[in-house]
């Protein structure tokens, strides 16, 4: 390098010439490439729509974080729904709003034990309302958190993530292909390749629902009406399942330890919520088929749910105990169709109101 060449000099005495990147002449290639992209995108979008997909909001971490922040706004004194996918699919916000006059917040996360969300609400001074917690026994008492990142996102969201979410939501309601189930890597991973011997492989859960702007969620029609698709979903639910007694000893021990830990965490969180005058209601939504076996095998009612309700002393509504929560159609054993969810929400709202009133009367509260 030359001596004493100013960093600002372009071609001073002894200076190296400033690097200029060689550039090929590509003419109108960019315009033609853009044309190809448009054609391919139209074809891809058409294929996705031919699969029965209609555009809807993505069930993203950013959307959950946005809804969670509403509590810090002026909505912390209202109804909050949380839990896993059953609470997400089966509770319809519009029906509840019609009956109650106020639209609840939907904070349920599929495949995720709700204890983490409950703890967050317990620590949040802005939350003073009523939280209905969906308890899917196999998840709630296992501590499994498929959507942990959504909870983390709420705490650590950066300005760029916040802005990106806003931009994304401008496109989501118009593009069917812009769905997790049709991302290229996901599509590739479900291609029918030969199984590799000795590898434990679980198929990804397929698209099940459509989501609205405030996370109100309805089961995708295809799950209900397309028998092959419904059977596929059922086969994924039952895949690799083993009764607790047949699991290896260390795994069984971990499950039992997690059960105790989850109970302790939930009880602690409910106490904190009660201490600040807010309310918790636990609910077990209906399930059937494979889940009628697996849920009670991994988390028997008397060792989990009953203890939770007894030790917290809060209202607990189990579908086996209330007629209003029975008799709904669950195409893939776990979630209600949209119209059934409407019917369920209406009946469930009445049940909640009645049970709360009965408890108040019993406690002598006017």
């Amino acid at each position: 390098m030359p001596l004493y060449t100013s960093s600002s000099d372009i071609s001073g005495h002894g200076a190296d010439p400033v690097f200029e990147r060689p550039v090929p002449a590509l003419g109108r290639s960019a315009a033609f490439a853009l044309l190809i992209v448009i054609v391919l995108m139209l074809a891809w979008e058409a294929w996705v729509r031919s699969e029965g997909v209609t555009p809807s909001y993505r069930n993203s971490d950013g959307l959950w974080a946005e809804q969670r922040r509403r509590i810090a706004g002026d909505e912390g004194d209202g109804w909050v729904f949380t839990g896993s996918s059953r609470a997400l699919f089966d509770m319809q916000l519009a029906v509840w709003e019609n009956l109650d006059g106020r639209r609840p917040l939907q904070l349920a996360l599929e495949g995720t034990a709700a204890v983490g969300v409950l703890e967050g609400l317990a620590e949040d001074d802005d939350f003073t309302g009523k939280v209905i917690v969906g308890v899917a026994p196999g998840l709630f008492f296992s501590g499994f958190e498929y959507r942990r990142q959504a909870m983390d996102r709420y705490k650590t969201e950066t300005p760029t993530q916040w802005f990106g979410q806003k931009v994304s939501m401008l496109a989501e309601p118009y593009l069917a292909f812009y769905a997790y189930d049709f991302a290229l890597a996901t599509v590739l991973r479900r291609q029918p390749l030969p199984h590799r011997e000795g590898v434990e492989f679980s198929r990804e859960v397929r698209k099940l629902s459509n989501m609205e702007r405030d996370r109100n969620t309805r089961l995708w029609d295809k799950v209900d009406k397309n028998v092959a698709y419904r059977d596929l979903v059922r086969s994924i639910w039952a895949e690799n399942w083993m009764p607790l007694a047949e699991l290896p000893e260390p795994v069984r021990e971990r499950i039992l330890e997690a059960r105790t830990k989850q109970l302790d965490r939930a009880i602690e969180a409910v106490k904190k919520i009660q201490a600040k005058g807010a309310q918790t209601i636990f609910v077990q939504m209906p399930y059937e088929g494979h889940y009628a076996t697996s849920e009670i095998d991994i988390a028997p009612r008397e060792l989990t749910w009953d203890i939770l309700i007894e030790q917290t002393g809060v209202l607990g509504l189990h579908f086996q105990d209330h007629e209003e929560m029975q008799g709904y159609r669950l195409p893939e054993w776990s979630h209600m169709t949209g119209s059934e969810a409407d019917r369920f929400t209406e009946a469930f709202y009445g049940l909640v109101k009645r049970e709360l009133a009965a408890r108040q009367a019993a406690e002598g509260i006017p």
Binding site: M1, L3, T5, S8, I10, V23, M41, T158, A183, R196
Partner: protein, 473 residues
């Protein structure tokens, strides 16, 4: 802000619009500077203060060094700059590492010392801009160049958003002169800039994140002994992932800068076609390797002070280069292995390098494959969270213990093998070529088709805005 995010798409559109609006050059540079601060603050606004400290300290110190004639005082001023820059880097990046090792050392001496929790967030890209500003002051101290005449130009050099957080690490003489006269991209530059952005994002979003990351993650997070096929596939997956991730970032950065009319230097030249480790380091992270050569290896004496000292200098440079990548002993071992391979190559080249056989195709391809094999061994230490994982991987990869666990489904096997073969073929084809020459030589229909398909694949991969691997360094 990530290049592979919708936020960046909007940000870049605004920056381009402002850059091509009828403002004075000074206003346009100010726009770029403000835009660069926004780009950085979009992660964590308070960390912009670190950029300001680095900018002000090096601006003041370099000017004083330039005017100062007393050597002792010049050295003292340089020390101030180095202390501030390395002090920030040390505090944020190596504080926890030092504490951890100090605790281990005390324990070995019989003291159960419990250090306070070190929950410090690492500012994105701190290693990159620290080295860039240090190069400026060192150049002035070593009288390789005089200080910049404009504070605005210098601040923009430190902060220029395309390469701020993951390089290329640009030298002052490469970038500051470009800020002096008005720059807007020609139509050709703009077109090529967008083509480079497409290639970079294709590498990152489609190949690194979409096709390879899952296999690498599955393998390196398995806590049991793996089947050798899985260990090798996971390592090859990471090998491809880190190249496509990092070279993808650099290519995008170069394209973004070119769209604004600025030229950034190459950072990668198809490294998996390297024949030997000195060739590899002329092709991998070029801006870091040349930085280490110019500001560490040569000042240590380079190869001018005898054989033994040369080997020692090589090892020191590569060990520190390893530590630059991360505060963990696994990175030091990674650097150490590269140092060892470079030293061994030097020793062998001095004895057998002149023979005719090495000019033939067959032996050269064999040497290239040997280099690729050894590079992959080093990646195991780079990627593994701890030594237990690294040793387990190396064990099964080299002993072919067939009792290990298989963890990769067939789709990953197909994707990793397919991408690896394609990547090696492309690297070998491009070994002595330049991208811009190939773009001109390709039939136009092929170029347009490839460009369109790459863009389409970027869009339908959707992406999850995964951070680039090198952001953590």
């Amino acid at each position: 802000m990530l290049f592979n995010s919708l936020t960046f798409v909007v940000f870049f559109a605004v920056v381009l619009a402002l850059h091509y609006a009828p403002f004075s050059w000074r206003v346009k540079k100010s726009n770029l500077l403000i835009g660069s601060y926004i780009f950085y603050a979009a992660w964590n606004p308070p960390f912009v203060i670190l950029l300001w400290i680095s900018t002000v300290v090096d601006w003041v110190v370099a000017n004083k060094i330039h005017l100062e004639t007393r050597q002792a005082r010049r050295r003292m001023l340089l020390t101030v700059s180095i202390m501030v820059n390395l002090g920030m880097l040390g505090y944020f990046k190596y504080g926890g590492f030092v504490m951890e090792n100090f605790q281990t050392m005390m324990l070995a001496m019989g003291f159960d010392y419990q250090p306070p929790d070190w929950n410090i967030v690492l500012p994105v890209g701190i290693s990159f801009y620290t080295f860039q500003t240090m190069a400026y002051t060192l150049d002035v101290y070593l009288k390789r160049s005089a200080p910049a005449k404009s504070f605005l130009d210098f601040a923009l050099f430190v902060t220029f958003f395309p390469q701020l957080v993951a390089g290329p690490i640009v030298r002052p003489t490469q970038l500051i002169p470009q800020f002096k006269l008005p720059k807007v991209a020609s139509r050709q530059q703009l077109t090529w800039g967008f083509a480079l952005i497409t290639i970079g994002l294709f590498n990152k979003i489609v190949v690194a994140d979409g096709l390879l990351s899952k296999a690498a993650e599955t393998v390196f997070e398995t806590k049991e002994m793996l089947h050798p096929a899985d260990a090798w596939l996971g390592t090859l997956a990471f090998s491809g992932q880190i190249f496509c991730d990092f070279a993808g970032y650099s290519t995008t950065a170069i394209g973004v800068a070119l769209c604004l009319g600025f030229s950034l230097p190459d950072n990668f030249r198809f490294p998996y076609a390297a024949v030997g480790f000195s060739d590899f380091w002329r092709r991998w992270h070029i801006s870091l390797s040349s930085w280490l050569r110019d500001y560490l290896y040569i000042p240590l004496g380079g190869s001018r002070k005898g054989n033994l000292r040369t080997y020692a200098n090589l090892m020191t440079t590569m060990l520190l280069g390893g530590l630059w990548h991360g505060a963990s002993w696994t990175f030091v071992v990674w650097g150490g292995l590269h140092g060892l391979f470079l030293a061994a190559e030097r020793w062998l080249a001095a004895r057998f390098g002149g023979r005719e056989i090495w000019k033939r195709w067959g032996p050269r391809i064999l040497l290239a494959l040997l280099t690729y094999f050894l590079v992959n061994i080093t990646w195991v230490f780079f990627r593994a969270q701890d030594f237990a994982t690294a040793w387990r991987m190396i064990d099964t990869m080299l002993t072919f213990n067939m009792d290990g666990k298989k963890v990769l489904p067939m789709i990953d096997v197909v994707q990793v093998i397919g991408v690896t073969i394609a990547m090696l073929a492309v690297h070998w084809f491009m070994r002595n070529r330049y991208l811009h020459d190939v773009a001109v030589a390709l039939p136009r229909w092929l170029l347009i088709g490839a460009w369109g398909v790459m863009l389409w694949l970027i869009i339908i991969t959707q992406g999850q805005s995964n951070a680039f691997i090198y952001f953590q360094f």
